[in-house]
């Protein structure tokens, strides 16, 4: 793959950013439909490039420009973030003209996707850091975009303070790793680790600091405190985008870093098998973070009264499940992670889409605003129910398949206690995912509650997201197989 090819998504997106900014300037304050067309086209083009990469098998599995590794994992994550961006942009079109965001929203989403696609490919600390910060900084602005909204302001302030400090921790950790590795590439880091650098105490400290940055990005405990406030205060479409794309990109970067921290060099046949034996400090940190994250997320979610906050804690819990795969770190677990991310994409985007529709119709994001929705708008309520059940992991929904594949990979390594904790967490989560269902169905209809309408466009978008959630169990073999093909190419060197 040539350098130009590797940069194609970034080039397309940057062109999109410029086009959006010009179009916005030319529109003189009006908000033409041209903007979503431009940003949508750019994202579709990027998605198409990623699909072509995957289908054409021309990625070459090597490092381009000394910083970007072009492999199936990169392509998958690029596709993933482009789709998430596209859905978030479409979700903002559902409302009436006044609530549509301006050009800066489109430009920022495109910038964020640039950062995410680069983060997934980055195998150099400098690139990694820059991509990470690009995602973060665009995120801060996206959250605080509605300047007159007090809650959004507050959310943005919390996000930026928390994010800046965690990225400060990360860059300090990276500076130490740079010193240990004698170079900025992750391969140099791995070489240093293999030759024994990991026995130095400063190594563990540096790794913990770098993980802190990623923990912020994926909203893992104890760096999750920002998430509920930010998701509640931010525009719903932005919250959905951050909870899906930003988290996935964080996981992608984390995977590359963990690849570099392995004690043994990978072989061609088994790139990551028994790479982090239980007891290694890195696996221990990840396992503890996984348990902590899912438990904190699920327990805190139980006492939420705000729908968006509830979804925020739910997304923290899901980060915990995904960290389980990282801690187990077998090829099986990594393919489970990819599989899980795909299931999470559909469920969570749909959940935030519905939350947005309800918020717009009722003017409140409280769970109580769902009261009697099962009778006010049966189709919307039914779709919402299915998504909630999927997030819980009830068969035959998509979320169940994700959990099945994930827990299978954990049990296969004999980490029974780990799986048990995960299953217990799943049981806890049933309680709070059932709260909206109770409001919607079991408590009758409130008198004089405003009707909740589903615009045709929103209905189509909802159907596109919910259909896989419900019907995917009929034929999920291809996705499971495909998730396995992604893993062998996952490396950091050429």
């Amino acid at each position: 793959m040539t350098a130009l090819g590797a940069l194609l998504p970034s080039i397309l997106l940057t062109a999109g950013v410029l086009a959006v900014l010009f179009a916005d300037a030319a529109a003189k304050g009006r908000r033409p439909l041209l903007l979503p067309w431009i940003s949508g086209t750019a994202l579709v083009a990027v998605a198409a490039v990623a699909v072509a990469w995957l289908a054409g098998d021309r990625l070459g599995d090597r490092v381009v420009l000394g910083a970007l590794r072009m492999d199936a994992f990169t392509a998958v994550l690029t596709l993933f973030c482009a789709v998430a961006g596209l859905v978030s942009i479409l979700a903002t079109l559902v409302g009436d003209g006044n609530s549509r965001p301006g050009g800066e929203f489109h430009a920022l989403v495109l910038c964020a996707v640039v950062g995410m696609s680069v983060l997934a490919a980055a195998v150099d600390m400098v690139t990694l850091y820059l991509a990470f910060e690009l995602v973060s900084i665009t995120g801060y602005v996206l959250v605080g975009m509605r300047r007159a909204d007090r809650l959004a302001n507050e959310a943005a302030m919390k996000y930026v303070l928390f994010g800046a400090v965690s990225s400060g921790l990360m860059v300090y950790g990276l500076s130490l790793l740079f010193g240990l590795a004698g170079g900025t590439s992750l391969e140099a880091l791995r070489a240093a680790v293999v030759s024994g650098a990991s026995s130095q105490p400063v190594f563990v400290a540096a790794v913990v600091l770098v993980f802190a940055g990623f923990a912020f990005k994926v909203s893992a405990a104890p760096f999750h405190f920002w998430a509920p406030d930010v998701y509640q205060g931010a525009p719903t479409a932005v919250a959905g985008f951050l909870s899906v794309a930003s988290k996935a990109a964080g996981f992608a970067g984390l995977v590359r870093v963990v690849l570099a921290l392995g004690a043994q060099p990978a072989t061609a046949k088994e790139p990551i098998a028994s790479f982090l034996p239980w007891g290694s400090p890195v696996a221990a940190v990840l396992a503890v973070a996984a348990v902590l994250t899912m438990t904190v997320g699920n327990l805190a979610a139980c006492r939420q009264k705000d729908l968006k906050r509830l979804l925020a804690y739910s997304s923290i819990a899901h980060a915990g499940y995904m960290l389980m795969a990282l801690a187990v770190w077998t090829p099986n677990a990594m393919s489970a992670l990819v599989f899980y991310l795909v299931t999470y994409l559909f469920m969570n985007l749909a959940a935030f889409l519905f939350a947005g529709i309800v918020v717009r119709a009722t003017g409140s994001s409280s769970i109580d605003s769902l009261h009697g929705l099962g009778f006010r708008n049966p189709w919307l309520a039914a779709a919402f129910t299915l998504v909630m059940l999927s997030l819980t992991g009830i068969p035959p929904m998509l979320g169940f398949l994700g959990k099945l594949v994930l827990f299978e990979s954990v049990l296969r390594e004999g980490w029974v206690w780990f799986a048990v904790i995960g299953l217990l967490n799943g049981a806890i989560s049933l309680y709070y995912y059932a709260l909206p269902l109770r409001r919607m169905y079991l408590e009758g209809v409130a008198e004089g509650a405003p009707p909740v309408r589903l615009a045709p466009g929103a209905a189509v978008l909802a159907a596109v997201l919910v259909l896989p959630v419900v019907a995917f169990f009929l034929w999920w073999s291809p996705l499971a197989d495909w998730a396995r093909t992604v893993v062998p190419s996952l490396r950091i060197g050429s």
Binding site: Y129, I137, M157, V160, L161, G168, V171, T184, D229
Partner: protein, 107 residues
């Protein structure tokens, strides 16, 4: 005087870096004012920069670290600009930037 300078090695720089880092973290944790938190953050970032430049000076990969440091500086500037804009916006809307007082969102 030159003799004195020659005695300054990597560890000295790293120690200063570590002290800066700790000072920054303490500032971040202790300050309730959002601008104060940002000032603490700058200390942390500069600790990282000091490390990077020091490793560059004493390590095997010349320039790499310095380039990294320049990027960190640039990013820090962007981050600070955004952060200050957001903090200013919060101040406009409620005359308050104490991070404990700005708490309409909780639960």
């Amino acid at each position: 005087m030159t003799g004195f300078l020659e005695h300054i090695g990597l560890m000295h720089f790293l120690t200063v870096g570590a002290v800066l880092f700790c000072a920054g973290i303490v500032t971040v944790l202790a300050r309730r004012n959002a601008v104060g938190v940002l000032i603490g953050l700058e200390l942390v970032l500069n600790a990282a920069n000091l490390n990077l430049v020091a490793f560059d000076r004493f390590g095997p990969a010349p320039l790499r670290g310095s380039v990294f440091a320049i990027f960190v500086l640039a990013v820090a500037a962007a981050e600070a600009a955004i952060a200050l804009a957001i903090v200013l916006n919060v101040f406009d809307s409620r005359d308050e930037i104490d991070v404990d007082e700005v708490s309409a969102l909780k639960g």
